[in-house]
């Protein structure tokens, strides 16, 4: 399988940040701390991907 291009990674990072941010909002509103924590961990991973793709 070929490596995704930098542009693809950037698109994923950009959209992912928004999806995860609003996902954290929904899970916090629902009182589900474990889901919020998991989404935050995913956000951190996405940021690292962003650094590597930058």
């Amino acid at each position: 399988m070929s490596k995704p291009s930098k542009r693809t990674i950037r698109v994923v990072v950009l959209i992912g940040i928004f999806v995860l941010a609003f996902g954290m909002y929904i899970s916090t509103e629902a009182g589900s701390d474990s889901v919020t924590a998991a989404l935050l961990a995913l956000t951190i991973a996405l940021m690292v991907a962003g650094i590597l793709a930058g």
Partner: protein
């Protein structure tokens, strides 16, 4: 107060994300898309580790950051799209040659575009539009991309407080609970002084002291015209029109001044600074012997003229304003707090987005109407729309990551009390020389948020309270706050990224930031010294 003790350790910890961002972008020439995520990670670690940010606070702060980012990116993507429509129609080149008709003098072109035209745009639109629109225009005219972004960033920043229909000024008045009439004179006077300094900075960025000497007359006369106009209107209570009218008066003034041959033509004996990039060669503009017909210039400018009409129309015609703002996207947020007791109040609407009334929507309307006009007149062929979309995506994608991560970092810092502690530390250490540092706190707020309005919201109350404690004139200190917040526009990474992305400098923000920070420090220091003297005399 709800924040940790204001000691060196906590202050340095709060400063760490900003320091990391600056070091990576300025020291290592990293782009915002790479430095932003690192600074975000540092801010998260400090907020959770030193400032007691709970999971819900982090989650809500990032959702707020998401809304704020959409709000900002809407403008950026739309401004870029408008620019590419105009550029594909060959209109950037035509406007450039049209401006060369007003004046072939490159120094006067810098004044006209980077100082006066940006002020005019700031008056009607703001929110990053002046740099996003004018910087690529200057590049198209053959100015070096770095010069174009630096000159426009520096040139327009004096008009930010009373620009955008005076949103920042209203925010300052609201948050400090001091009527606008008690703040207007002080704010407009400090910003008026900044007007001259920003003009000098814009010209200096083009060709150093020689350009300033050559532009001394216009700088003084046009600066006095614009600063006085803004001051008069602000004192009369017409806050929303102050910067816009100042820009109009400046444009009229420059047209009159350039009737003089000294300001109309380029001195032949001088060698101009090297020109790079751009879709038009500078020599073509300056040396062109074929005059551009006025009708062609008007046609080329039509997309921007439509923008002006739409923005003015929506602010003057209330039913139109009500109609386009009838649809609104809102999220409510509950109160959050840190383990230290720093509380963020609950809000029913944080940075609501009106998809049809937003500044970005107005840019899109202008782009589509401009497209229709250019297409009708044969300036654009089939497939131009897709080409413009494709160029917009290519230009804005990388910078958008930088903006989103920096806004996320700023919100984390604000909501965990880090930003407040930074300002408190400065106030504690400064004591009697606090007025000198007051505008720097405004700059800090804008640096963090990319917005004069947010800076005033963030630090307005702190500045007022510190002035009260230290027995300083509140109106002068608050004027310094908003002047700093306005000048902060030239150093705010979020805004610089906007300029860089439209001027074709994505990922190369470092050199621009370096230059802008230099001008920002000098101008803010002068404003700080004036604030100090004024406070002593009051």
């Amino acid at each position: 107060m709800g924040i940790p003790d204001v000691d060196l350790l906590h202050w340095l910890a709060a400063f760490a994300p900003i320091a990391v961002l600056l070091v990576l972008m300025v020291g290592f020439n990293w782009g915002g898309a790479k430095a932003g995520p690192v600074a975000w990670l540092v801010a998260l670690a400090v907020a959770a580790g030193f400032y007691g940010a709970r999971l819900d606070l982090i989650a809500y702060s990032q959702a707020k950051a998401g809304l704020l980012s959409i709000w900002v990116l809407y403008i950026i993507w739309a401004a870029l799209f408008l620019f590419h429509i105009v550029d594909l129609a060959g209109s950037v080149s035509t406007i450039g040659r049209g401006i060369a008709r007003i004046t072939e003098n490159r120094v006067m072109q810098v004044l006209l575009l980077a100082w006066i035209f940006t002020t005019f745009l700031q008056g009607i639109a703001g929110y990053g539009v002046p740099v996003a629109v004018v910087a690529p225009l200057m590049v198209g005219m053959g100015f070096a991309p770095v010069t174009a972004v630096v000159a426009t960033s520096v040139g327009h920043s004096w008009s930010v407080t009373f620009g955008s229909l005076a949103a920042s000024f209203f925010a300052l008045s609201g948050v400090s609970e001091i009527p606008g009439s008690d703040l207007a004179f002080e704010a407009a006077l400090l910003l008026g002084i900044a007007c001259f300094l920003c003009g000098i900075g814009a010209v200096w960025s083009f060709d150093g002291v020689r350009a300033v000497v050559r532009a001394a007359g216009p700088l003084l006369i046009l600066g006095a015209l614009m600063a006085t106009t803004q001051l008069l209107l602000a004192v009369l209570g017409a806050y929303s029109l102050a910067a816009f009218t100042a820009g109009c008066v400046g444009l009229l003034g420059v047209v009159v001044m350039t009737r003089l041959p000294y300001y109309r033509f380029e001195p032949r004996q001088r060698v101009l600074p090297p020109v790079q990039g751009g879709s038009v060669d500078a020599a073509d503009i300056v040396e062109s012997t074929t005059p551009v017909p006025l009708r062609e210039v008007a046609l080329a400018f039509s997309a921007y003229a439509i923008l002006i009409v739409i923005v003015l129309g929506s602010s003057v015609i209330t039913p139109l304003d009500d109609a386009i703002n009838s649809v609104s996207i809102n999220l409510s947020f509950p109160a959050t707090s840190t383990t230290f007791g720093w509380v963020n109040e609950a809000t029913n609407s944080y940075r609501s987005i009106e998809p049809f009334g937003h500044a970005g929507a107005m840019l899109l309307y202008s782009a589509f109407l401009g497209y229709a006009i250019y297409r009708q007149s044969g300036k654009l062929g089939r497939g131009a729309l897709q080409q413009a979309v494709s160029r917009t995506v290519a230009g804005a994608l990388t910078s958008s990551i930088g903006i989103v991560t920096m806004v996320g970092m700023a919100l984390l810092m604000m909501e965990s009390g880090m930003t407040y502690l930074l300002a408190q530390g400065i106030a504690d250490v400064a004591g009697p020389v606090f007025p000198l540092l007051a505008p720097f706190i405004g700059v800090l707020g804008c640096f963090m948020t990319g917005s004069n309005t947010n800076s005033n919201i963030l630090f307005g109350a702190l500045q007022r309270d510190t002035a009260t404690v230290l027995g300083l004139p509140k109106a002068v200190i608050l004027a310094a706050q908003t002047a700093g917040g306005a000048l902060g526009s030239m150093v705010a990474p979020a805004k610089i990224i906007v300029g860089c992305s439209t001027a074709g400098l994505s990922g190369q923000e470092g050199p621009v930031i370096r230059q802008c920070v230099r001008y920002g420090i000098v101008i803010t220091t002068i404003i700080g010294i004036i604030t100090l003297i004024w406070s002593e005399l009051s």
